[in-house]
Symmetry: C2
Subunit: 260 residues, 2 copies
């Protein structure tokens, strides 16, 4: 029995999210199906670093599973990719010891949200970006985003439905970039964990600040309110990417929270 | 009655091609449906500059239609886009006189083919590129591509099924670029017209030359043979874009055929 840790990317458009659901096409279900074939019928449970919702993408989702086979990592990548549908791609593989758990061993996660700022939705981006066709002030978004840094109770940023009681999380890094050629806003968030829909809610709030609908200091106020009603927008799933999961300590260059 | 000329882009993935077909979702059918709503039930025939196959995309498809309404162009773009599904986007509009015909008035067309060179198919590119996971020699492709320039009988490059008898076309411009960041090959072809599947067949031939499967001088030989059996590959629809239709004379910078 060997424990495999694998990093994969997927286009979330045609999946009902990461997590297995009956009669739905999911990322986990698709991978478990392939592993079942590989082991001639054994049920192999695949553990993910976290769920992604329907339509949410991954550049660096990470999974682990135990396999009663001795397949070297390089062959494993090829074996998986040759059996995977074209919307999932395995990128790396590592044999880890049995103390490694893809969720509990994670030190942090990096999410990216991409917003298309074109007036109309670009046909080629409709499944791969959010869309905000209003005038924005980039400096306001950058300034406001920094108030998310550090340890906070993010109750205001948690969609209902989550079973999690402790809503304190630490955000290490927030960066907002504008890609002029693509007319896209790229928002990066690195933290020790994120509540359900938290990145999409933070993005919606920052966009409302950028368009002038809210004052630039509103992030602080919304955090302090600990009330989801203060911030009801949720940016669409299509713009969200699980970009990377950290199993090493978060590199110093991403520890913006320590500079404060 | 006014004749409108409009330029549009579309993601061809979810269409059964440009041309109307019974019980199929097509670009032309989708547009005619919207115009029917706009005119409260009148059948408005939409003329395209040319068909694109299922899965083929457009950045600059051009259409014309006659409308018994007096809608200014700017409002027309907004009216169309607000009723269009998200995989079609209208970009420009012009009122033209009744002698203008989107097919017969065209002076040339620009097609682009994008090839992803990654080992495995990238999940985010699977509908938007072709895929060629082999070592290629860019210089060989560039050199071979220049033999396509000028007026030739392109019988070897025409898929069967076309009703067209005259297979002489002139290619004005061929350019091959490599985007290192994306690991993509971009092939541009401008000509006075293209036969059915011609761009996809030319692309397949150039890739076979690039990978060393064929000699670099093979383009000349295949053209001279006037036999489709000499060149049986067809690059997939997903990498092909109708990039622009020219109604002015082809600009001098694209007249590479005159330099020969």
């Amino acid at each position: 029995m060997q424990r495999y840790k694998m990093v994969l990317e997927y286009d979330g458009t045609a999946f009902h999210g990461y997590q297995v659901q009956p009669n739905q096409r999911t990322v986990q279900g698709t991978i478990e199906e392939v592993l079942k074939n590989m082991t001639k019928g054994q049920e192999i449970k695949v553990h993910g670093s976290g769920r992604t919702d329907a339509g949410v993408h991954a550049i660096g989702q990470t999974i682990h599973f135990d396999l009663p086979l001795n397949i070297p990592c390089e062959r494993m990548i090829n074996a998986m990719n040759s059996q995977m549908p074209r919307d999932i791609l395995f990128k790396s593989c590592e044999i880890v010891d049995e103390n490694f758990h893809v969720r509990y061993s994670a030190k942090g996660k990096w999410y990216r949200y991409i917003v298309d700022l074109d007036h109309f939705v670009n046909p080629f981006k409709r499944f791969y970006t959010g869309h905000f066709p209003y005038q924005i002030d980039l400096a306001r978004i950058k300034e406001a985003s920094q108030d998310l840094l550090g340890e906070h109770d993010f109750t205001s940023f948690a969609a209902s439905g989550g079973a999690i009681v402790d809503k304190v999380r630490t955000i290490y890094y927030v960066n907002v970039d504008f890609d002029a050629e693509k007319n896209e806003l790229i928002l990066d968030f690195i933290g020790n964990g994120f509540l359900y829909n938290m990145v999409r809610i933070m993005t919606a709030l920052l966009l409302e600040i950028g368009s002038g609908k809210r004052p630039v200091g509103d992030v602080k106020r919304v955090i302090a309110a600990k009330n989801r009603l203060e911030c009801q927008g949720t940016a669409p799933a299509s713009g969200l990417y699980l970009y990377r999961v950290f199993y090493e300590e978060i590199p110093e260059i991403y520890r913006m929270d320590r500079e404060k």
